[in-house]
Symmetry: C2
Subunit: 118 residues, 2 copies
């Protein structure tokens, strides 16, 4: 079934799309950037850059380091990060629901293989 | 004000986002791929490739050539192309409306300059 990808584009040009949202979701679940990177088959540096770009896009961090514990520290969403992620998830859910009939109608006419990616 | 970008991703991997939607809108208005390319500051080949990829993604063309007339022929949306564009526009409008409060809340925390693009 066809899907809808949602990307928030801020005035600054910063973007928050499905990739960053999935990373934030995984950090929320795992409490770790490196565990999230592994679970998303992404190298650590890439995950770190995505987190860093989110942190630099706002006047307050989205992800913060945690210290201590057996694992020697990790990462978690700040309250603002949680708010940002839940807004994205809510919009994604609402949009997907709104688009169900359109996506079905469009997919019905789609060929199984797309042409070259442009 | 922050914006929401919508991209339809078909099972085949074919994508229809703001760029292709704007091109279809322009072809609908101008009746010409080359005039549309010019008005979007895009080279003709790129516009043609985008149209071609749309035409190859479905079991029916999205854009067709027109022949005759003073200009020696041009292009227009097929009925399916019109349907596709109007579904996209309707979704984009509905989503933008749905997201107004979220976008305002998120933009309020955004810094004027984004970090490096990742």
């Amino acid at each position: 079934m066809a899907k809808l990808k949602l990307t928030l584009v801020l005035d600054s040009g910063a973007r928050i799309g499905p990739g960053k949202a999935a990373l934030l979701e995984s950090i929320q679940d795992t409490g770790s950037i490196s565990a999230s990177a592994r679970s998303m088959a992404m190298d650590y540096k890439r995950a770190w850059l995505l987190v860093d770009s989110l942190n630099k896009a706002f006047d307050t961090p989205v992800v913060e380091r945690t210290t201590g514990g057996a694992g020697g520290g990790g990462a978690r969403l700040t309250p603002f990060g949680q708010d940002l992620l839940s807004r994205y998830q809510r919009l994604q859910g609402a949009v997907t629901k709104l688009a169900t009939d359109d996506l079905a109608a469009i997919e019905q006419r789609a060929l199984p293989e797309a042409g070259p990616k442009v």
